[in-house]
């Protein structure tokens, strides 16, 4: 289990990350969401020890993380890169060795992963001769090489084509199934919604929301959409109902609670011609916009 405790980073007077605390439990996939400059990359760099925190600490399995622990973490930085002028297989083998694998084991593992990602034929080619998409695949392989105990991935899905997104998701699921905690950041919120067990929303260096998608939704205000055969303008007169939008036969309302909503439905049925009365489930983007606008 990875735990961040009051992690803070200052650049001069600028507070880039402000007392960020959350956990990534064993086998869980945690999505890290936030706008540009929210502090996601800085936080991840501190987790990986690439950047020293100004305050706070990173705990791994309950104790402060060591360089030895970090050598077993898989990391994909926001700024991608491998050696452009070196062949794919040797440099992946080298990176595997840096993570503590023996040369033959690293070579074997690299070869397996390259084949899995359809790069089996290109192992001897220089990285720069690969297409951008294939370079991305090599980058993914580099991050999961050393049988990692934790995955920290900064925007792992950016720039991937749909099939690579699927391969990547599958790879992440395999890791969580083995109990490896995964922390990744993304701007693709529907992807985060689909994959993650829990979500951390970062805004201006602070955690503004934290929990599973359901929990975040449950915290969202109650909304219903009512569609009728005739005009729905009458909802304006119902007590306890805030009308958000009325467009002829359709109205979006925010009832004070479920009882008010129920009463509204009874009224509507009494008027006749109800086509739809449904709870509006906010998308993650809407929740995000809500919390990030604070």
């Amino acid at each position: 289990m990875l735990e961040l405790r009051g992690l803070t980073r200052r650049y001069g007077d600028v507070l880039a990350v402000d007392e960020v605390s959350f956990t990534v439990p064993r086998g869980a996939m945690v999505g890290f969401v936030g706008g540009n400059g929210a502090g996601k990359t800085t936080t991840m760099r501190m987790v990986m020890g690439v950047l020293a925190p100004s305050a706070g600490e990173v705990l791994w399995q309950g104790r402060p993380v060591t360089a030895g622990d970090r050598a077993r973490f898989g990391y994909m930085p926001e700024e991608r890169g491998l050696y452009p002028k070196q062949p794919v297989l040797p440099q992946l083998t080298y990176l595997g060795q840096l993570h503590g694998m023996s040369a033959p084991a690293a070579r074997e593992r690299s070869r397996d992963l390259l084949e899995r990602f359809g790069l089996g034929e290109r192992v001897k080619d220089k990285l720069e001769t690969l297409s951008l998409g294939n370079q991305q695949r090599a980058q993914i392989i580099a991050s999961v090489l050393g049988d990692p105990t934790l995955l920290v991935l900064d925007e792992p899905f950016s720039g991937l084509d749909p099939s690579a997104v699927d391969q990547m998701s599958e790879l992440l699921r395999e890791h969580t199934a083995r109990g490896v905690p995964v922390l990744f950041s993304s701007h693709q919120l529907e992807l985060v919604d689909r994959l993650c067990d829990s979500i951390v929303v970062l805004h201006q260096g602070r955690v503004v929301a934290h929990g599973s998608a359901e929990q975040l939704r449950a915290g969202a205000p109650l909304r219903y959409r009512l569609t009728m055969a005739g005009d729905t303008g009458w909802v304006r007169g119902v007590p306890g109902v805030e009308v958000l939008d009325v467009d002829g036969p359709t109205a979006v309302v925010a009832p004070a609670d479920e009882q008010v909503a129920e009463r509204l439905l009874v009224d509507a049925v009494a008027r006749g011609g109800v086509r739809e009365f449904a709870r509006v489930v906010p998308t993650l983007s809407e929740i995000y916009r809500e919390v990030a606008s604070v």
Binding site: A52, A67, R70
Partner: protein, 345 residues
């Protein structure tokens, strides 16, 4: 030689060919052959026709040598010597003394200094060439391998792989690996060149200088090693300050300048300045082995210089590592040395 009479013949016969000094081109000693002719006109004819190089005519007190254009000076000198000795002996006897008494104390004993110093030091041209060789080897290695270190750092930085590396292993280890690898290569190449030069030297007349040379080379190696390592860390820092290969030119400039100045200084300094400079780190690598070669150092001097360069090495490792660690992940634009020092980790 042509002669006219027994007196002249006797003079020529006593010419010592060895005293004529110069050997002929084929390495044989010159010989003098005498041919007696009837009279002066026969002698003249013999010289003019080239049968004889010179002709000796006349008698004691009035010797005359006949030549055709350019007389061979060594033969002329040798003949004159015999005549002079004869005359001297005759005059001495007339004056009631002897040649030995007359010439007592006139001889000057010659001591060839060049030959005496050869046992203790090197011929001057050898030390100059070696000095240039030592300085040039270090200069080349420092520039070539230094640039290589700097560009490999900036390559990792520019391709952004550095963040993966920094996450996997401590940055300090990355730096140490780079420095160790390049030092090994530079040292190996230098050792190969020096060995080749020494082996080559055994085929020349200068191989008498070998024992003294071996000592100088023995001192050169540790100076080279420490001097190189000291620079290597700074080169790595220079690489880390750049963010693209194009920036290398400007971030490595101070280093290149220092090296060029040191190189020129090492070749041009004289006297006390040279002695002082031979203790200054980096300059000591260029100068101290040379001074050892010239044989004018006490035992503690190279030791002290070595300790100084080792201390300097420690300082550059600390400063270089600090700069490297801080500047390595600073990917937005190149940094100045001053700015680099102020970066936080």
């Amino acid at each position: 030689m042509a002669t006219t009479g027994p007196d002249a013949t006797s003079v020529v016969e006593r010419v010592d060919p060895a005293a004529m000094g110069a050997l002929s081109f084929d390495g044989e000693e010159p010989t003098v052959t005498v041919e007696e002719v009837a009279d002066r006109s026969a002698a003249e004819e013999s010289v003019l026709e080239g049968d004889a190089d010179l002709a000796l005519v006349g008698g004691p007190g009035e010797w005359e040598v006949l030549a055709d254009g350019s007389p061979p000076t060594t033969l002329l000198g040798a003949v004159s010597d015999v005549v002079r000795t004869d005359a001297l002996a005759a005059n001495a006897e007339a004056a009631g003394t002897s040649v030995t008494e007359l010439t007592a104390g006139t001889e000057v004993r010659l001591t060839d200094l060049a030959e005496v110093t050869e046992d203790e030091g090197m011929p001057e041209q050898v030390t100059f060439l070696l000095g240039f060789g030592f300085a040039f080897l270090f200069y080349m290695a420092a520039i070539m391998f230094g640039m290589q270190i700097a560009s490999s750092v900036v390559e990792e930085k520019q391709s952004r792989i550095v963040e993966i590396l920094a996450a996997a292993i401590p940055v300090r280890q990355l730096l140490m690996g780079k420095v160790a690898g390049n030092t090994l290569l530079a040292f190996g190449q230098m050792a190969l060149l020096v060995a080749t030069a020494l082996v080559g030297l055994t085929f020349t007349d200068l191989d008498v200088a070998l024992p003294g040379l071996a000592e100088a080379v023995g001192w050169y190696l540790p100076f080279f090693l420490l001097g190189f390592v000291a620079l290597a860390c700074i080169w790595a820092a220079a690489g880390a300050l750049a963010s693209r290969t194009e920036d290398l030119q400007s971030t490595t400039m101070p280093l290149t300048m220092v090296l060029v100045v040191a190189f020129i200084a090492a070749l041009n300094l004289q006297g006390v300045w040279r002695e002082v400079a031979s203790f200054v780190p980096l300059l000591s690598t260029l100068l101290m082995p040379l001074r050892i070669l010239e044989g004018d150092v006490s035992w503690w001097e190279p030791v002290l210089a070595l300790v100084l360069v080792a201390l300097f090495c420690l300082v550059t490792i600390l400063v270089g590592t600090r700069l490297y660690q801080r500047a390595l992940l600073h990917t937005s634009g190149s940094l100045s040395w001053r700015k680099g020092m102020r970066l936080s980790e």
